[in-house]
């Protein structure tokens, strides 16, 4: 990526504007907290599901909007979190001493070694956090250590995701292949289809969203967050100032992976299933587009863009399935051409006078840096 050219000003980053953002976000979260009182069962379930996804969007905002790394493979980390929990739920749903049903159909005779520890709930819950973060850390280390940047990172992450999905699809006996892991309904002794569980799950999701938003926003206001911004705007200059960009980028990527993993685990509980199709290339890129639409540099914009985008998708694709891909494709192009900083960027520009740095510049290389 060309330093300093792609990124515009950070919407909502000025200290004076922060309280307004916080107030508005708080108000929306409170309104959402009362949703179970006025929403029917289907809309509530949809909203909960979409809120679970928005946690992954917050991660994309950190990695892409803040640090300038576009990962097209977030589905990999989302899937690791989701599968970690789904494996536990599946083992819980299987009578003691028996194998999960899909293993029986596929002629597997012994529980694979990596399944066994997931029988323990604390282990599975820990893995929801550890697996995606560790995988993201490893991938990031391999890439950023060798200063692989820009579109290369996007391509490699997408290829990794593709390899993961292909492997999942091909390993019927180990992962249930294309069908994914399904048919489970008890977690920690609670029947997930019980009468009041839907509300509880919704509130739990909202709580995690609020925590992810608050925690990430706090983290990004620390010096750590400022270095991430510096790396996005000019990685070389940051390096010359004595920081090690690779270490910071790895940390940011791990945070993005962790948030994606948590999102995947919650989504798995909401939907009652996880399969390769849910985490594939289309999912990962869609995630990025909703973040771009909402405003990648703003955490709230990213999460909000995802929630509204997914709700719109639900409406349009059920009304006219054929039209959806056209709408989606056109959105990709329009967002990039018309609002490169997303809705949050447009709002921020309305509130603040025009920035001195142009949002985009026609030159392909910044000459001063190419010496």
């Amino acid at each position: 990526m060309t330093p300093g050219v792609q990124s515009g000003p950070v919407p909502g980053a000025g200290r004076a504007r922060v309280p307004a953002v916080v107030l508005a976000t708080g108000a929306v979260l409170v309104a959402l907290a009362f949703a179970p009182l006025y929403l029917g069962a289907y809309p509530l379930a949809l909203l909960g599901r979409v809120l679970a996804l928005s946690i992954a969007a917050i991660g994309v905002s950190v990695v892409w909007g803040r640090t300038g790394i576009l990962s097209l493979g977030q589905g990999l980390f989302f899937g690791l979190g989701g599968y970690a929990l789904a494996m536990h739920l599946k083992l819980t749903a299987t009578p003691k001493g028996e194998l999960p049903d899909f293993m029986v159909y596929n002629g597997v005779e012994k529980l694979p070694w990596f399944w066994a520890p997931f029988a323990s709930a604390p282990f599975a819950l820990a893995m929801v956090l550890v697996l995606p973060a560790a995988a993201a850390g490893l991938v990031a280390w391999l890439m950023f250590r060798r200063r692989i940047t820009g579109v290369y990172v996007s391509i490699i992450t997408q290829a990794l995701l593709l390899a993961f999905v292909t492997w999942l699809n091909g390993s019927q006996g180990l992962t249930s292949g294309t069908n994914g892991i399904t048919d489970y309904q008890r977690f920690l002794g609670i029947d997930l289809r019980g009468p009041n569980v839907a509300h509880g799950l919704y509130w739990l999701t909202l709580l995690v969203v609020a925590a992810a938003l608050g925690g990430t926003a706090w983290l990004l206001r620390t010096p750590f967050g400022q270095v991430l911004t510096a790396i996005r705007d000019n990685e070389n200059r940051t390096r010359f100032l004595g920081f090690n960009p690779a270490a910071f980028k790895i940390a940011a990527f791990m945070l993005g992976g962790l948030l994606a993993g948590v999102s995947g685990a919650l989504y798995t509980v909401h939907l009652g299933t996880i399969s390769p199709a849910m985490i594939g290339v289309a999912f990962s890129i869609e995630l990025v587009v909703w973040v771009a639409l909402g405003g990648r540099a703003s955490l709230v914009g990213a999460a909000g863009g995802l929630v509204l985008g997914q709700l719109a998708k639900d409406r349009i694709s059920s009304a006219a399935p054929d039209a959806w891909l056209y709408v989606m494709g056109a959105l990709f192009v329009l967002v990039v051409l018309v609002m490169p900083q997303g809705v949050a960027g447009v709002i921020a520009r309305r509130r603040a006078p025009a920035p001195s740095v142009p949002a985009s510049s026609p030159v392909t290389r910044e000459v001063s840096d190419a010496v």
């Binding site: 990526m1 060309t2 330093p3 050219v5 792609q6 892409w64 576009l70 391999l142 890439m143 250590r145 060798r146 200063r147 692989i148 940047t149 820009g150 579109v151 290369y152 996007s154 391509i155 490699i156 997408q158 290829a159 990794l160 593709l162 390899a163 993961f164 292909t166 492997w167 699809n169 091909g170 390993s171 990685e235 070389n236 290339v281 890129i285 587009v289 771009a292 054929d322 891909l325 056209y326 989606m328 494709g329 056109a330 959105l331 990709f332 192009v333 967002v335 990039v336 051409l337 490169p340 985009s360 510049s361 026609p362 030159v363 392909t364 290389r365 000459v367 840096d369 190419a370 010496v371």
Partner: protein
């Protein structure tokens, strides 16, 4: 694993590499010149495939004389339209271009699905391509030999165009220093358009080869695009020679891994090899020499 099986796999790998190479050529050109990643490049391949299908419908058994120009011009025009309407507005924003072109690829795929249906349309190869050459125990189908020959011819033509023609000199000049070339009178905008259309046209030609080997469906481009990118990354951006070597290497690795394990593991193995390779040579086999700090 016996020798017959091995050479059969290697031959298949070589023919897959040929199509990968033709797909990657356009990517490498536009990436090298404009720093543009075109996620819709696979759809030019798809368009070439469908145009071959149409040519076979219109022209009967010996349709290849029609298929090649049709696929080249058709895909090239599609590329020119895309460059003119979207891509030229996004210079200097590689990641945004990547997203926008992905959107275009979604639209093109859905359009193909509605025009031709979601199942593949078959193209019957002409009679003179239906046999196979037997070398010892190894069977070499003529169709696959034809695809390999096609890749070699296009590669030779590209080499001539880039290294011996005035157009090629301009392309190399812009590739090295866009501002300086522009100052010396090269019309860089027109060149961008031409190169992008040319890359699309070559992908269209690859689509003809693809149609001869397997049925064409709306997702055929998406299936090739990631591996074509890997070819560009491994070969080194903007290097025709690097692309050729990388395509052959990746084609061999895929064919061998598929022969030894399974298709699903082969993709994973290929990726491990590529990531390991990038640890060793992060800028590809034949990186463009440059004194710039950041040149990607």
């Amino acid at each position: 694993m016996d020798l017959t099986f091995l050479s059969g796999q290697l031959f298949t790998g070589l023919s897959v590499a040929s199509i990968l190479l033709l797909a990657a050529l356009g990517l490498a050109l536009s990436f090298g010149l404009m720093r543009v990643i075109n996620m819709a490049h696979g759809e030019f391949l798809m368009a070439g495939g469908y145009l071959t299908y149409l040519a076979a419908q219109w022209a009967g058994p010996n349709f290849l004389w029609l298929a090649f120009p049709l696929a080249f011009v058709g895909a090239g025009l599609l590329g020119a339209v895309m460059e003119f309407t979207v891509i030229r507005r996004l210079y200097g924003r590689p990641l945004d271009t990547l997203l926008a072109t992905f959107g275009i690829s979604l639209i093109l795929q859905q359009a193909a699905r509605q025009l031709f249906g979601s199942t593949g349309v078959p193209v019957t190869a002409p009679a003179w391509l239906s046999g196979a050459l037997n070398v010892g125990d190894v069977t070499l189908p003529y169709v696959r030999l034809f695809v390999i020959a096609l890749a070699l011819i296009v590669l030779g033509a590209m080499w001539w165009l880039l290294n011996r023609s005035r157009f090629g000199m301009h392309v190399r000049a812009v590739n090295q220093n866009r501002e300086m070339a522009a100052a010396l009178g090269v019309n860089t905008r027109a060149l961008d358009l031409l190169v992008f259309a040319l890359g699309a046209g070559i992908a269209g030609v690859a689509g003809v080869g693809l149609a001869l080997i397997a049925p064409v469906n709306p997702t055929v481009g998406a299936a090739y695009i990631v591996n074509a990118f890997l070819v560009v990354v491994v070969g080194g951006v903007g290097s025709v020679l690097g692309g050729a070597v990388a395509a052959v290497l990746l084609g061999f690795i895929t064919a061998l891994a598929e022969g030894l394990t399974s298709v699903s593991l082969a993709q994973a193995i290929l990726l491990v090899v590529v990531v390991a390779f990038l640890q060793w040579k992060p800028r590809g086999l034949f990186p463009t020499q440059s004194r710039a700090l950041e040149d990607a």
